[in-house]
């Protein structure tokens, strides 16, 4: 069993749904961002409403209460599990089974934030998240939710090589994917490393220049000229 951050959920149809739970580091940053945003809003509320005297302060306190408790719930429901901070960090909250978070679990996990916060700075939550593989804090465990990374957006591939070459027969999907990954990531590899890697495949593809040959195969796969 290889150690991996990604976990696959199997759907009833037998399809594998890869989810990547997010650990406490990225979540802490998202939380800091959210706290800063809330702090900004609260400051504005108090400055504006204090003009109304004591009634204004009362209103501001009520609004602050609502903001403090329902800010995450609102955004998790309305923005598909992403508060502004989470969106910034590229993470979101989902149910255990990968479905979008619903009102009940969201409310529960955010009410239990207080428990996770104890004794200070989410220490309980951090320790709890280190004790299970999905990095769930207590609120997540109770609500049956988890925080995952958003899939990064796909970039238009560009292999900087023209021409196509047929992929050798008998290459499985995973093997073809490896060829494609080589072409896609060659921008980040030095020329020496590229030829080093491509030479490994030389006994199979028998090409004059294996680097260009693999990129041309990738062109064939993505339909580029």
């Amino acid at each position: 069993m290889l150690l991996d951050t990604r976990q696959s959920l199997e759907t009833p149809e037998g399809a594998l749904l890869p989810l990547t739970p997010a650990g406490f580091g990225v979540r802490a940053l998202a939380q800091i961002l959210d706290i800063l945003i809330r702090f900004g809003i609260t400051t504005v509320i108090f400055i504006v409403l204090s003009l109304l005297g004591r009634m204004g302060i009362g209103l501001a306190l009520i609004l602050t209460f609502l903001l403090e408790w329902f800010y995450p719930v609102f955004f998790e429901i309305a923005r598909n599990g992403r508060t502004p901070g989470k969106k910034w960090m590229g993470i979101r909250v989902v149910n255990d089974d990968g479905t979008p978070i619903t009102f009940g679990p969201s409310l529960l996990r955010n009410l239990l934030r207080v428990v996770d916060f104890l004794p200070m700075a989410y220490l309980t939550g951090i320790v709890a998240s280190l004790c299970n593989r999905q990095f769930k804090r207590l609120g997540d465990l109770a609500a049956g939710s988890m925080v995952i990374y958003d899939a990064p957006p796909l970039a238009e591939p560009s292999f900087a090589v023209r021409g196509q070459l047929p992929v050798p027969a008998g290459f499985s999907t995973d093997e073809q994917r490896a060829l494609l990954a080589f072409a896609e990531r060659s921008n980040y590899l030095s020329a020496e490393r590229q030829s080093e890697l491509a030479t490994i495949l030389q006994p199979v593809i028998h090409a004059k220049d294996p680097v260009i040959a693999i990129k041309q195969m990738a062109n064939t796969m993505v339909g580029k000229q």
């Binding site: 290889l2 150690l3 991996d4 951050t5 990604r6 990547t20 739970p21 997010a22 650990g23 406490f24 580091g25 990225v26 802490a28 940053l29 960090m89 590229g90 004794p119 200070m120 700075a121 220490l123 951090i126 280190l130 593989r133 990095f135 990374y149 990064p152 290459f171 995973d174 093997e175 994917r177 490896a178 990954a181 080589f182 990531r185 921008n187 980040y188 590899l189 030095s190 020329a191 020496e192 490393r193 080093e196 890697l197 490994i200 495949l201 006994p203 199979v204």
Partner: protein, 549 residues
């Protein structure tokens, strides 16, 4: 150290995901790492406890400051465990001196506070680089995905601190309230030496708890960076492809390649593995010289006359003039003659004085107040009139919306002829029964029945049955039935309505047979009808006649 033996799922990850992988690594190898850390740093704890307690902050700082030294065996364990070669505690401790003193002085002085310490340790310890080469290597590694390294240092420090306070408050919460220990005294009073020693031990425990995670996260960041730079996952995949296809034949050649790539981790592949970032700088600078020569110019004449490419000093004004000159050439401009009427301004002066006086007069004219109120009243009247007009104009629509008004009944004229027959009072004789009987006796049964029918229709029309020109005979009977039906409206139904209906129905049938079918009615029936007419339709006369008979 073979990529085939790797115990991690190798794939390029995002920076924070790499940190999460570090957390998982620390979880899996937490026990051996903690064991080694405890054993290696135990002497330090003893020294820290020996230091007099009034200098307690020295002990706390000492434990904390020497952390890099005790992180090295943890990295040693991890770097082997990742390649499925987990060393036991004894061998780790035996190897400890070999890597403990590498650049130790630097690590404990000005590199101690480097935020990327956890990530950089591997370069020093595993790749064995130093000096300028180390700096180059770090530059490559930090080019991407290294921002979490600083953050985990920050979070690690926070964790240590919070764990320490958390453990102290946990103990404090078990102390019965009756003892009445001052909360602040726990932290700040120097009276009790045992308490301070306890705090130092707790501090040490906090460091034990965080160290494996911190080291593993940093190592994972380093590993992820190398996976990306050297495409380990592609390496593994390509090797699998080749292995699958020629397992037997060229195993010798494979072994050579294997041996070439063995020791990927420790041997310095740094030189070949630099990420090629310079590729991405596109040669956009090519365009710049051309643009500069275009803008080089002195004045309009010069720019037009002189060949391009000569270098001429110019300033802003001459350039402006040159542009203007060029723009005024016929290629860039055209002339238009526009004629328009303008007010003669000179004659306007006198009237303006007049108007001014006039307005001054108006401004002070008190009659305006009255006029204004009159005007106001007028305006209101217009408004009211408009509203009224609107109400009137749309009264039907409004009525339909809000009030149900009975539509006005259209008075229809009663028909004078039906089925081509006269049904006016004038055309009918006084005594219908008698006249019909006479006609019957004269042998003209058609005329007799026609008379009866006409008279019946006349009676029906004048008793309120709405028979129109277009109705057929059958419809007349139907209308009559509806008119006199008991469920009908408030029409006063005569007491012999049923008799009348029956009579009229029978008469209609016989009349239809005669008129359209030319079937002469049974004489008896016809005579019966003639007799009954007065009885049926004219109650009073019928009674009178009955009385007379």
């Amino acid at each position: 150290m073979n990529l085939d033996q790797v115990t991690l799922e190798i794939r390029p990850r995002s920076a924070w995901e790499a940190v999460d992988l570090g957390l998982l690594m620390a979880r899996r190898w937490w026990l051996p790492m903690t064991k080694v850390w405890l054993i290696a740093s135990l002497p330090l704890l003893i020294i820290a406890l020996v230091i007099p307690t009034d200098k307690w902050w020295i002990s706390a700082l000492l434990i904390w400051w020497l952390k890099p030294l005790y992180e090295r065996p943890l990295l040693h364990i991890l770097s082997h465990a990742v390649f499925n070669d987990l060393p036991d505690t004894r061998s780790t401790l035996k190897a400890f001196p070999s890597f403990a003193f590498k650049q130790l002085l630097l690590s404990l002085t000005w590199r101690r506070l480097s935020p990327t310490r956890s990530m950089d340790l591997a370069v020093l310890q595993l790749e064995g680089l130093s000096g300028a080469r180390r700096q180059d290597r770090l530059g490559v590694l930090h080019r991407e995905d290294s921002s979490p390294a600083g953050w985990i240092s920050f979070f690690g420090l926070m964790m240590e601190f919070f764990l320490w306070i958390g453990m102290i408050s946990l103990i404090w919460s078990f102390i019965p309230r009756e003892l009445n220990i001052e909360w602040a005294g726990l932290f700040f009073s120097n009276e009790s030496t045992q308490l301070i020693e306890l705090q130092i031990i707790l501090w040490y425990c906090a460091l034990v708890l965080t160290a494996p995670f911190y080291v593993a996260c940093g190592f994972s960041l380093y590993l992820n960076r190398r996976v990306k730079l050297e495409a380990w996952d592609i390496d593994i995949a390509f090797r699998r492809i080749v292995n699958k296809r020629n397992t037997a034949p060229s195993s010798n050649a494979l072994a050579i390649i294997f041996s070439m790539l063995l020791g990927l981790l420790i041997t310095s592949t740094a030189d070949t593995a630099y990420a090629d970032a310079t590729q991405t700088t596109a040669p956009t600078s090519e365009h710049l010289p051309g643009m500069e020569t275009d803008s080089d110019s002195d004045s309009g004449a010069i720019i037009v006359d002189k060949p391009l490419g000569d270098y001429i000093e110019l300033n802003r004004d001459t350039a402006q003039r040159a542009i203007k000159d060029v723009m005024q050439q016929s290629e860039f401009s055209r002339k238009e003659k526009i004629s328009a009427i303008k007010w003669d301004t000179e004659e306007k002066k006198e009237p303006s004085v007049f108007w001014k006086k006039f307005f001054d007069f108006l401004r002070n004219f008190e009659g305006f107040i009255a006029a204004a109120s009159v005007l106001e009243i007028l305006l209101w009247l217009i408004v009211i009139a408009l509203v009224a007009f609107v109400f009137y104009r749309y009264r039907h629509w409004l009525a339909a919306q809000f009030v149900r008004i009975k539509p006005t009944q259209v008075l229809r004229e009663k028909p004078v002829t039906l089925f081509g027959m006269d049904i006016t009072r004038e055309s009918l004789p006084h005594d219908i029964s008698q006249s019909a009987m006479d006609l019957m006796r004269a042998g003209d049964s058609r005329a007799a029945l026609a008379l009866l029918y006409r008279a019946s229709l006349f009676q029906l029309i004048h008793s309120g049955v709405e028979i129109q020109d277009g109705h057929t005979e059958g419809e007349c009977v139907q209308l009559m039935r509806e008119h006199f039906s008991p469920s009908g409206n408030t029409h006063k139904t005569p007491h012999n309505a049923d008799a009348r209906i029956d009579y009229f129905a029978l008469l209609t049938r016989i009349w239809q047979q005669l008129a359209y079918g030319h079937q002469n009615p049974d004489t008896q029936v016809a005579e019966q009808l003639c007799k009954q007419w007065n009885l049926c339709w004219l109650n009073k006369t019928a009674n009178a006649q009955g009385g007379a008979q």
